[in-house]
Amino acid sequence: MRNRLLSGTACAALCLVSFSGAARSATLDDVMQRLDKIEKENAELRQKVREMSAARPGAAASVASDPSKFKGNPVLHAGVATSPTPPPPVPGMPVKASPWGPVIDNTVVTLYGHFDISGDLFNPSVFDQGTKAGIASNSSYFGVRARHNLAPYGWEGWSIVAQLEAQIDAAASPTERAAFGSRDSYVGLEGPWGAIKAGKSDTPYKKSTAAMDPFANTLGDYNSIMGNTGGDNRAEFDWRMNHAIWYESPIVSGFQFSALASPGQNYAQDNSDYSFGDYFQCNGASVRGSGSNFPGTGGAVNGNIGGNGCTDGSYGNAYSAALNYKNGPFTAIAAYELHEGVNRHGDDNLEMAVAGSGPIFLPDGTQILTGVHNEWAAKVGGGYRFNDGLGDLQLNAYYEWIRREVTAIEQPFNERSRDGVFASATQFIGKWSVSASYAHAFKTPGNPACLSFNNLNAGEVCGTPGIVPVGQYQANLFDDSASQYAVGTRYRFNQWASWYVVGSVLKQGAGAHYCLGASGHGYQVCSRDAANDTIGGATLKAATTGLTFDF
């Protein structure tokens, strides 16, 4: 052991002496040459590093590429497209978080969603229904939106935007209505002059007053009456339009204008068939959802193009436009929508291409005539928000005209023309808000059908003239106005989550058959008995509580 230590020490001493001798033998010129060489190598390396950095556009964002560092709330952004080399980041400027940082630039992908699940208690006041409880998923959805910034390509202020959105049937069994793209889905170009988009979207008419309803998607939703043609779940003027193209202006001094067009693109001249591209349902019906016609309910002949079964509200070309104004506490809206050639032969049974067609007569001897005619709606309204000492108080109101342009002889059967009015108030108190709303449907000129008495004879057909009816009665002989009242409160945990409680009552004349929860709630509470007979004039009552979460 000692010998090994001595030999090692001697070897180290020799090496040190040899190295020192070599150092002493070098001149200062040698040192300078070596330093020059090192400097050149250093410059070459620096140049290579610069070239490598320039070849990686997303390098600036790589600091955020570690998914473990991404917190992901409230929204997850990610870039997925490459682009020309971005300018170097400004010192001190934060880099946007992204789990997919290495491939970032100019395309921001946003995952978003909305959940609204409620527990309901309702009673339609129908003889064989009673009070029931239910769990509903209310217009819950999930979506992906991508925005591709065109500024680096010379289009400053312009973007390509695309969106895919699907309904989430969190409570009910999913159907085609929960397919990807079942809700607002489109691709478009946005810029300083506005946006042009194509695909499917809520109409400008629908969106113009959406914020006025504090009970949207609950059993107190204003679509029980507003935008609703004829009652039931027919919120045909609160619609998501398929195969559409639309323009949205930028907001200029508080004004924003939007307009949409949807070609009917129907196989049949009276719009009684599927639209081109829609092989599952009639135009004017949502997938297994709301609207006047959908498979299995007097609408399309299932899977059969050429069946001419779209006779319960199918329409051709449609146009919708809205002008919104917001300036501080003031809001104002004006909107208009037109459905061309709305086929209502399902009421008069005169769609001759359908087997078994033929005239229908009411108990008073009149033949039902409904035909194919244009329908339109218009509305104007406004809102004001101010602080009343307790907190902000938001007031909203609007008036609506819905019309079906029929001939005089068809007026006694026209349940599509009426006025409506809506008003709501919401008092904000800290994280709480208390709301109340009122909607009223004025009387229509007529009705093409019979409604059932609220008794065990509801299935008995309309009586003949001179005989006292026991099961059904001629609806156009009775008042069909209706009023809906709703009150509720909401607690907002924050901007993303809330809890609500809502109560609603719908009172209607004997000729009316509106529903609670139309167009938005997971299901509708209608005045129907177990055999699906429509009970006229029922009073509908519901209470609901739910939790919402947006991300």
């Binding site: 409230p74 930028p250 917001k326 901007q495």
Partner: protein, 107 residues
Amino acid sequence: MIDLQPPPALVQMAQSEVQPEAPPEPVPVKVDVTQYVPDSATSVTMIVTVSPPTGTAVVYAPGYENYATIFKGPRSMEEVRLTGPFVYVKLYGAQSFEIQYTNYRQP
């Protein structure tokens, strides 16, 4: 004669290793978006123009500075998530900015 001055290359390299002093953090500018955008909006799409055009604007909702949206100059369009009526704007390398609201989203 031998010049005993230190090699200039070494001096230059030593200087390049020194980190530049970090610029002062810009003061955020508070902007009320509800002048033209509904109070219930959850996000707003906007075009931000900055001057000089080489600058950048960073826009974020209160409490969400780490999730800011970056608007590169001279003009670019992006979507900003909202948590209330206000957003903050920080300018990097820019002296002024201008916002044009193009659209908004509601739940």
